[in-house]
Amino acid sequence: MIEVTRLTKRYGDLVAVDDVSFRVDEGQILGFLGPNGAGKTSTMRMITGFRPPTSGTVRIGGHDTVTESMEVRRRIGYLPESPPLYLDMTVTGYLRFVGRLKGIARSQLSDAMERTISVCGLADVCDRILGHLSKGYRQRVGLAQALIHNPPVLVLDEPTIGLDPRQIIEIRQLIRQLAGNRTVILSTHILPEVSQVCERVVIINDGRVAVDGMLAELTRHRSLEEVFLQAVSRETAPRGGADASAADDA
């Protein structure tokens, strides 16, 4: 469903993503791991077509993100690192706007909104202004925004960042519920999240793929923490710097 081939992104001299390749099959939930600054967000932005790759390609359901951008955009639901909310809108107003933007037919819009509101547990806050909502609810509205057009592919960039433990659990449950026949890429640097939610893991470090495999196989003999730390230290050890210290934190 998602094919990433030799993806590279340079910002001037800085190589943010370096020759990354992996694929996600239909219905899989992929945990996309890496320390801060490893290139997770850059990769996700290229997958959604928000930013163009310097070289390499991304194909979503066989459509290239650069040359067939519109096709790809119709198929993707994207939750960026900070949810893209208009803080002066109400929850319903915002979802109606996003629904129209995503090209949902007029006749189906209210159904789509109702479905998304109930799935994301937003019924109690429908008429509230987004700017007045707590962080957890904002994150849910962000998720609702990604889901409203019922896309086959979901790209979620750190969906649980900054939430309290109860909210984290709720969002994780929600993601698991959503998965079903959807293909999901979930970026995070919280390891237990991956163990609980994902079937497959790609760990990137310093812009390169360090580990790519099924969670069950990777964690057969070791814990995910060990796999992660080994993957992260292997490449950063000679270079040192910010990534290595971020890995220590993790």
Binding site: P52, M70, E81, F97, R100
Partner: protein
Amino acid sequence: MRSILTIAGKELRGYFVSPIAYVVLTGFLLLGGWFFYNLLARFNFILGMYSAMRNPEALAQVNLNQWVVEPLLHNLSVVLVILVPMITMRSFAEEKRAGTYELLMTSPIRTGEILAGKFLGAAVFLLIMVGLAAGFGALLWFYGNPGPELPVMAAGFGGLFLIALTFAAVGMCCSAFTENQIIAAVSGLVACLMLYVIGWPADTAGEPAGNVLRYLSITEHFAELVKGVVDTADLGYFGLVMALALFITHWTVESLRWR
């Protein structure tokens, strides 16, 4: 078309939900009212003076179009130089800052549609603004005896709307370059003001350069409309500047896709 209207509706709503719309409208009408009152007072004074002097020839020269409507429109156009960039400063800068730019750019909607929607939203707002200012003209028409010539006044207010649209296109262009609203507003103001004053050296610049500068000056074309002279060349100028500004905006937004 539906996505254009969706964006336009969101923009228009955004103006009126934030205090910006009210501050801008109030400021515009307040200044407009001040200009109108003073021009009218001067008109009355001169009228009174000429009739006291029993000078029918001079009296015949004094009319509402030339003495009130024309200077009012010119003054309002100066106010627009300042206010329009304040309205358009948010258009792209705010989306970038709030992160909603990512939503727009990953939704199945073309850059041209985003642009058209945002411009349409601004245009409707400016139409309301100029429409309210046209109330001053309506007052003259109701109470003036003889009133101002209606077609001339209509051309003038039409010209005011055109000048506002042109400034909006320029302001949006400036907003597309930055994620800072202040920078968007200030650069928009400078660009609009430049269009306003670029013709100043025209008289001393010699033949070819002078004509070019005169053509580039937005006031030259506006002044024709205010006089009631509707020439396609002047309308073409506004169209050209708008198209150019919107084209650069489109290019700037699109450039994100290949940078």
